[in-house]
């Protein structure tokens, strides 16, 4: 089939960071009316490529042509006015303004030298109807869900640019129905002849909506494929550069050890209903349930992030009271929170400082860990967890998502906890890092650590859990052990309560 002229053609794009080549001779061609997925592991160079194309980074080599004419955008604003709009996972709009004001900021319709609010609202309503949204544009943006905010952001980007739309992880914080809504918008835009770049970690979504995919690995293009011609395995193999282990099975676990923690009638009013839970050494307890079912709440109440107001806890048969995370840490608990950006990493501190943070906190700040010792600990975990970085001294915010997650894990592993609580350990990281983190969980369990893992991915829980606690509406509704453990039985446990 003869392809038409590409609307955007980036050739030979190179970008160097101190001590690393981020992009090496990368080519990306986008055709009108196609959805083009950009795939790769964390740190493969997807974000860097987008930033070079939109002018957020100045590139060190290569040319960009838009509709045949060479362009050199100074910044994302410039590239937007040239025709390339970008929408990020974090909605880049102003929540304190109305939907209409957000759509028209900087280009409001004027009448007698003044902003014509009535016309602005009317036009905003018309524009949003084209996107299948019938909402009141006179209300504050913050009064609508993230999915709707995302579509407003897309509408703004398309209105302002109109040739190329880059969607960077747009579905990361959306649920299933919202993803469908977004996809219908993408289909509409495709029909209008836009070229759309779709960046995501969800391979199913890539196959559901995309026409072609360009796969990056270590800053190089390893292939561009028509998705109709390839299988998921093929794509994953390209991304990883190696074969992914076949689907994970529930393996026979070694016999769990001594009883570590026992909770009875433990709960917190308004957060999580009272529950009983026992966990032994060398055991992984999975927390399963839908969004908002109380997974994170359970993790938080065990760790003392919110203090329990009822029930008793025993640690190795001795009574225990945990009212705040400091006490939990003193009892050798550790918690990796769900949202690593706000609750986990300290972006401006170096990777080394981030890794030793909890260990230092437990020792007390008056007894600083010597530099050499800190270096040694950080080095050990960087190697053990295969954290990819240029230097231990670089600020952690410069690492990719998966590597940040591993550094966070390293922080808690450095405290040598007896009970490790992981809340969504694989959220927002790519398949490669995903597999590594699962392997790590199994490894820690074999070494006798007790783990509580909350996750929305049932397959993953099935793979590594010794027992699975099923939650619904902030309440434990079932517990699965041994051969009972399967995604089917989890779904049934959730649904059974539905019928009752």
């Amino acid at each position: 089939m003869a392809m038409p002229e590409p609307v955007l053609h980036a050739r030979g794009i190179s970008k160097f960071f101190p001590g690393a080549i981020a992009l090496d001779d990368v080519e990306l061609a986008l055709y009108p009316g196609e959805v083009h997925a950009l795939l790769g592991e964390n740190g493969a160079g997807k974000s860097t490529l987008i930033k070079c194309v939109t002018g957020a980074y100045s590139r060190d080599g290569g040319t960009i042509a838009l509709s045949g004419a060479e362009i050199d955008p100074r910044d994302p604003l410039d590239s937007q006015s040239l025709g390339i709009g970008t929408v990020y996972q974090e909605v880049n709009l102003l929540e304190n303004l109305t939907v209409a004001e957000n759509l028209f900021l900087g280009r409001q319709p004027m009448r007698w030298g003044m902003v014509d609010h009535r016309r602005m609202k009317r036009e905003a309503r018309d524009i949003l109807r084209d996107y299948g949204l019938d909402i009141d544009p006179g209300r504050l943006l913050s009064s609508y869900s993230i999915a709707i905010q995302q579509i407003v952001a897309i509408a703004r980007a398309v209105e302002l640019s109109g040739k190329v739309l880059i969607l960077d992880e747009p579905t990361a914080s959306l649920d299933h129905d919202e993803v469908q809504l977004l996809f219908s918008v993408i289909e509409r835009l495709k029909g209008r002849g836009l070229a759309i770049v779709f960046i995501t970690h969800f391979l199913d979504q890539v196959f559901a909506i995309s026409d072609r995919a360009t796969i990056l690995r270590n800053g190089r293009v390893v292939g561009t494929r028509r998705l109709a011609d390839v299988s998921q395995t093929e794509i994953v193999t390209l991304m990883l550069g190696r074969q992914l282990e076949a689907a994970t099975h529930h393996r026979a676990h070694s016999e769990p050890g001594e009883l570590l923690l026992s909770l009875k009638g433990f709960g917190k009013r308004g957060s999580i209903e009272p529950f009983d839970m026992e966990i032994r050494e060398g055991e992984v307890v999975g927390l399963a349930g839908l969004l908002g079912s109380g997974r994170s709440e359970t993790a938080n109440v065990v760790f003392g992030v919110v203090a329990a107001d009822q029930g008793t806890a025993e640690l190795r048969g001795r009574g225990l009271r945990i009212t705040n995370p400091r006490e939990a840490i003193r009892n050798r608990f550790a918690l990796c929170p769900e949202d690593r950006k706000t609750d986990g990493i300290v972006g401006d501190l170096s990777v080394r400082e981030n890794i030793i943070l909890s260990l230092q906190a437990r020792q007390g700040w008056h007894r600083p860990i010597p530099r050499a010792k800190a270096e040694e600990i950080a080095q050990h975990y960087v190697k053990a967890l295969d954290i990819r970085l240029a230097s231990l001294d670089m600020p952690i915010r410069l690492l990719s998502g998966g590597n940040q997650q591993k550094a966070l894990l390293a922080r808690w592993l450095a405290t040598e906890p007896e009970l490790l609580i992981l809340d969504e350990p694989t959220r927002g990281i790519d398949v490669g890092a995903h597999a590594e983190i699962i392997a790590l969980i199994e490894d820690l369990r074999e070494k006798g650590m007790a783990l509580i893992v909350a996750s929305s991915e049932m397959e993953e829980l099935v793979a590594y859990s010794s027992r699975i606690v099923v939650l619904r509406d902030r309440r434990q509704v079932g517990e699965l052990t041994g051969h009972e453990i399967s995604t089917k039985s989890i779904v049934e446990a959730i649904a059974a309560e539905d019928a009752a």
Binding site: P76, L77, Q80, N92, L93, L94, E95, N96, L97, T98, E101, N102, L105, G106, Q108, G113, M114, V115, H117, G138, R139, L140, S142, S143, S145, I146, A147, R156, D175, D177, E178, L290, L291, G292
Partner: protein, 330 residues
């Protein structure tokens, strides 16, 4: 704007009406046009200053220099009218140029050097106060027939209230500010920067121009307030209007503007000013209370309004959480 953002404004308005009714019930004379006219005249300079402060706080900033700018303006005018034969109108234009330029310069420093507004305007506060001292350490009376003429302009309302030029000037400032904030791109940009400066910039808001403009407005209005103040006191004194910047901030916050920026209305500030003026008037009427009670009541009110903002914030997050939860279920 939606209902929820206007709620603090309505609460301020209700507070004022309630306070006024209570005062009038105790002292019926307080409901006269004379009291109302004096409320406007006495608070004109503070009211104008607070308009500039509203712009600044809406954008997420703060301007501590305005009290000093008023004092400087007063001394500058008094000295120039004493020592030269320049017409007051020319002097007004000159001083407005200086104060607006001064504000713009602070805005430029805040933007280009990425300095916190608190520190930059604190430096501006010392600088302007110092300049006022350099011009004269003593109170300089202003005697000029043009001043006498301006001060003689008033409209006598039935009931004996004299609505003076300065009060009208304040009202005009508020109307102009409302138009600028809600009906111009500059005004929208002020809200945008207050919401999130970084996002606003990504959305194409000219951040440098807007920041400089905001502080220029604040400086210029402080200059105008200084002119009004000389009309009010017929003198320029370098020790005058110490702490007025804090009164202005208080009026803005009582008026329902969020200190973190991005949400609020200049109309709220107007009622904030009236509430503060009303308390003072009440104390005068009472006659036995120390005037320091004004500060105590304002302190209490401020605290109440900050708690209110916090409460509204919680209520909104709770509502959004509910919204998303029901979204997820459906």
């Amino acid at each position: 704007m939606s209902q929820s953002t206007k709620l603090p404004l309505y609460i301020t308005l209700a507070t004022f009406v309630l306070a006024f009714v209570l005062c009038a019930a105790q002292y019926p004379a307080m409901a006269s046009t004379r009291v109302v006219a004096n409320l406007l005249t006495d608070n004109a300079f503070l009211g104008i200053t607070a308009v500039g402060m509203t712009f600044v706080i809406l954008s997420g900033g703060i301007d501590l220099s305005v009290g000093s700018v008023i004092a400087f303006t007063g001394v500058f005018l008094a000295v120039i009218l004493r020592d030269t034969s320049i017409h007051p109108l020319v002097a007004f234009a000159l001083v407005l140029l200086i104060t607006t330029g001064f504000g713009a310069a602070m805005g430029g420093i805040i933007h280009y050097l990425e300095m916190p507004p608190f520190i930059v305007t604190l430096a501006g506060m010392f600088l302007m106060r110092g300049l006022a001292y350099v011009l004269s350490t003593e109170s300089v009376p202003i005697t000029h027939e043009f001043y006498d003429w301006l001060q003689s302009l008033y409209w006598k309302a039935p009931g004996g209230g004299r609505f003076r030029l300065t009060g009208a000037l304040m009202l005009l400032t508020y109307v102009a500010a409302m138009i600028v904030l809600h009906r111009t791109r500059f005004g929208q940009n002020v809200y945008a920067i207050g919401g999130s400066a970084q996002t606003a910039q990504l959305m194409g808001v000219p951040r440098a121009r807007t920041t400089i403009g905001i502080y220029a407005v604040s400086g210029g209005l402080a200059g105008l307030a200084g002119i009004v103040y000389t009309l009010y006191t017929s003198a320029g004194y370098s020790l005058a209007t110490v702490g007025v910047e804090l009164d202005a901030i208080a009026a803005v916050v009582i008026g329902g503007t969020l200190l973190s920026g991005g949400s609020g209305f200049v109309a709220g500030t107007f009622f904030g000013i009236l509430i503060m003026g009303l308390i003072q008037t009440y104390i005068v009427f009472d006659g036995t209370l120390s005037s320091w009670w004004t500060k105590i009541v304002i302190g209490g009110l401020l605290f109440a309004f900050i708690m209110l903002q916090k409460g509204l914030g919680w209520a909104t997050t709770a509502r959004i959480r509910l919204l998303t939860a029901s979204d997820a279920r459906s």
